[in-house]
């Protein structure tokens, strides 16, 4: 069996396409690379969708937290506190069992108990809370002069927000937001470790890596493969966010531009 055959058999295994049974013995490096890579589809799916949808909630929450009216501020503060103050692992478990109880009462909630939707919602809320805190910090450090200049030009309300506040906020927050995106992709590996079932062994990259490590008693092959895939993914994220960063800073003189510095990698 050549590596090409393995690729066509297992390349989309994580989506349930191709060979039904996972390899059971005589594991080759090729099988491990293909299956773990196939699992990366889920990591990218969760990370990308949560990031894009979470962005909008994060901006709204950050603006809410900066609002002078406690009716907007308090809910935003609590939302951020709850999701940043508790472990994501526990959030996954709690959400999964809550969705299960909901499903018992109303069958319409059935899709929530599967990972593709239920875990996505948790990740969406979680990344929204973390990003909201970043955006809030940026909102607070917008130069006073920028806002005053906007006022002087007669801009106010929505127009001032869209043209001055939002772009400056994004520009200031972008380096930290890049790190958040990286952590989010890393956090996606928790999904199938925390209650959400991997139906008919359709799991993410870590799911397959630990499958191989369990079967072969040899962690020294699957985990480095997984690490390799994630380093590639991290580099892609850094590259993409770097391009956007360039775009956000394009009007500034070269020396003033905020550089993206990769900071500490944090668990949640």
């Amino acid at each position: 069996m050549t590596c090409w055959d393995i690729l066509s058999d297992y390349g989309l295994r994580s989506l349930g396409i191709g060979e039904r049974l996972l390899p059971r013995d005589n594991f080759t490096i090729c099988q491990q690379v293909v299956l773990i890579g196939s699992g990366m589809i889920w990591n990218i799916y969760f990370g990308l969708l949560a990031l894009v949808s979470g962005f909008f909630l994060a901006v709204a929450t950050a603006v809410g937290k900066a609002h002078h009216n406690p009716m907007f501020r308090k809910p935003a503060e609590w939302f951020i506190f709850v999701f940043r103050g508790s472990p994501l692992f526990i959030q996954f478990f709690f959400a999964y069992f809550t969705f299960q109880s909901l499903k018992g009462a109303y069958p319409i909630f059935t899709p929530l108990t599967s990972a593709w939707l239920g875990a996505l919602i948790v990740l969406f809320l979680n990344t929204a809370a973390y990003s909201a805190e970043i955006f809030y910090g940026a909102l607070m450090s917008i130069p006073k002069g920028d806002i005053e200049a906007a006022d002087a030009y007669g801009m106010s309300g929505w127009k001032r927000f869209r043209r001055i506040t939002l772009p400056t906020m994004l520009r200031l927050a972008w380096p930290a937001y890049t790190n958040e995106a990286i952590f989010l992709f890393h956090a996606t590996t928790l999904v199938f470790m925390s209650g959400f079932p991997a139906r008919s062994q359709m799991g993410d990259a870590l799911y397959y890596a630990s499958y191989f490590a369990d079967k072969t008693f040899n962690p020294f092959i699957p985990y480095p493969i997984l690490a390799g895939f994630f380093i590639l993914l991290t580099l892609t994220v850094i590259g993409t966010f770097g391009l956007i960063n360039k775009q956000l800073n394009r009007h500034l003189p070269q020396t003033n531009r905020a550089k993206i510095r990769l900071r500490l990698n944090l668990i949640r």
Partner: protein, 297 residues
Amino acid sequence: MAAIFSFCSDPASLEGIEWLSCYLTTGKHLGIYWSIGTVLLLLAITAPVALFFGFAGASAARSRILPIAWFGKGYTAIVRGVPDIAFFLFFVIALDQFFEWIRHEVKCPDWDMPIRQGNDFVVCPEAKLPLGTAPQWVHETYGFSLAVLTFAIVFGAFAANVLSGAMRAVPHAQLETAEAYGMTQRQTFWRVLVPQMWVYALPGLSNLWMVLIKATPLLFLLGVEDIVYWARELGATKTAKFTEYPHGDWRMWYFLALLVFYLGFTKVSEVVLDKIMSRLTRGQATAAGEAQRKAAA
């Protein structure tokens, strides 16, 4: 199992708050309270050990001897780019096999079969850790120690990251002055650099502490019977056949309780760390110290 309250002898007749207080003090529930102790124990051991590893890693990264510097830099860089959870799962198996391999080499020098046979990892019976004949508690302690060591290695790498940043933040002029006074490398490091770096390291370290708290439920994945394990056990549906306290699927409520527990824990830590920080910044020549001085005046 002897009940704690005297009125708990006949659970079927109890109601409301009495039932709940009896339910929450059954023998099985003591398991989950013990496991909170496990979490605290993990934190109490991991935090200093990780700090030590981090300090060693950060100092190694500054070494003039290249292989040591490479090792230190490699260690600080190891946790970037790869999910930490992968490290947790990796180190637990890898450390276990490493220890068994060392014992194997020492105890059974005459063993002629390869250690890796296909999909198996085989060492001689005397090298097994813990020994096959060991009692249950030895197995549990060994599993817990492996988990602690794993946590310490991963968080040591985080701490090394923070500490090497703090070492770089100490004004360079201080080190040059020390050398101008004729201090050796070693003296400069211990007498000038190390005492001054802590103020710069504290925000990073307190952040790390929060992260460490939030990482404790991952013990579950390392095979330790921790709070997550007990919450799943105790919350699952219990029928009247097996327990005097039958209930439906309460796992949701158990995890809600854990959520609240962690929120409270982080909140308390936040308050305490803020106190420590404001204590440490008093009189420091930093922006925060200046703000404190102005507020007092």
